[in-house]
């Protein structure tokens, strides 16, 4: 667990977020406040709405009700509302809250360094030379400097996910979202990705992580959030969450996962 010395300042505030696909209600009013530098790990059985909630926070899904505030600015828009934001604003907000995906989703036609450069060059307008230098520095930070000119299919899953993390970092996001970042990896590759994520935690990055890696949750999270059936049913620091879960569903879940 990290000790957060900065005063609690909310950077993401989600209130009553609802989302349904057809008649299936996936999120039934989810509220969450994330402070600057806080690391939240979201756990829960599959189908509980964790990933959908994350995609809503990343502005990759429209929500049906509720609101999402990022750094004091409302960024959400409702699917049935009339206040659909301009694409430029939406894109800018998205670039401030970058997501890392379960299946990496690296761009297969670009080398590792090009993957990391594409955002700064085309979204921020960074000159190519500087973007390349910064991308190489980021790849070095995730210990992939010597793989900079390789294409994604030439990298292992763990390496691909580290490039994906560097790609998100290149946008200097205010918040990073991780959607089961190690679930698609072979067991021996999980560690190298977790190591990089733990480094980000030490550097003070604000992170919301959907993960089944309970060891990471134990060591890195400030708060663990338990979701079930489209709702948050329990939220507690790891010590409390693992030793004295209040909710029956949480006890069930922990007994299955551990």
């Amino acid at each position: 667990m990290t000790v957060n010395t900065a005063p609690a300042a909310p950077i993401v505030v989600a209130t009553g977020v609802r989302k349904h696909y057809g008649r299936l209600e996936v999120l039934r009013g989810v509220s969450m406040t994330v402070n600057r530098g806080e690391v939240k790990v979201v756990v829960g059985p599959s189908g509980s709405g964790k990933s959908t909630f994350l995609r809503c926070l990343g502005l990759l899904e429209q929500i049906d009700d509720g609101r999402i505030v990022l750094d004091a600015a409302e960024v959400s828009w409702l699917s049935h509302g009339d206040r659909r934001p301009r694409e430029r604003d939406l894109a800018r907000h998205r670039s401030e809250i970058c997501m890392v995906f379960q299946h990496f989703n690296l761009f297969p036609h670009m080398t590792a360094v090009e993957n990391v450069m594409v955002g700064p060059v085309h979204v921020r307008g960074t000159p190519k030379n500087r973007a390349r230098e910064e991308a190489l520095a980021l790849l070095d930070r995730v210990r992939l400097a010597e793989r900079a000119n390789h294409y994604p299919h030439e990298l292992s899953g763990g390496q691909q996910q580290r490039v994906a993390i560097a790609r998100a970092l290149a946008m200097r996001p205010k918040v990073m979202l991780f959607d089961e970042p190690t679930s698609a990896l072979d067991a021996e590759l999980v560690r190298e990705v977790i190591d990089v994520m733990e480094e980000l935690v030490r550097d003070g990055m604000t992170m919301i992580v959907v993960s089944h890696e309970l060891r990471f949750a134990h060591e890195a999270a400030d708060t663990i959030v338990m979701m079930a059936d489209g709702e948050i049913i329990e939220e507690a620091p790891p010590g409390e969450f693992f030793t004295a879960p209040r909710h029956e569903r949480t006890r069930q879940f922990l007994s299955i996962v551990e």
Partner: protein, 244 residues
Amino acid sequence: MTFDWSIFREALTSRAYAEGALIAIALAALSQASAAVIGLGIALIGRSPLRVLRLVALLWVWLFRAIPTLLQLLFVWNALPQLIPSLREEWFTPFLAAWLTLSINESAYMAEIIRSGLNAVDKGQTLAGKTLGLRSGQVFRLIVLPQMVRVIIPATGNEFISLLKLTALASVISLRELLTVTSQQVAVNFRFAELYGAAAVWYMVIVSVFIVLQAQLERHYQWSSTRRAGIPGLRPQLAGALNR
């Protein structure tokens, strides 16, 4: 009558045949290029949230695949000028008529090929582009398009080869392409075997060259760090969207 090699060789190397072949290549290449652009438009319209636009795309593909290409060509050359007076003027040449016909005809097939190519690109690619803050147009141009192109190269190669041979249809509207040239020579000396043979060789050579180019293009789209250089100078223009 035996096969006269000197007549064959003379026809094969004649200026008329070379010009006919050049017209065939130009017509096929131009038609393929405009068909790809129109087909992309139709494929995108076909994914529109507006039902009317989707219907337009559906009708377009249905119509131009349903009618024989030869009939479309005759319609454009003979019927359109009756309906549209300005097409009766000098500028509406057989080449233009054939280009128009083949572009539209081929665009229906390209729309289907491009539709399947777009479907083949993983949805996660679009999400990854969006989360970086790229706008829809950028996501399409920088991320979806190059991956779609890779998928459609083999099918498009097929289309180009059949298009090259479809240019021979334009002989019925007196375009001086390879088959017209051949027919005119045959009418003079009735050396069918030699003259048809020479035309066949021209088509075979053109298609062979094209197959080599396609193989180079496919290698270029392998996205490998150890790839040998493909077509010189191609990479910075096509793949290096970042260079802009």
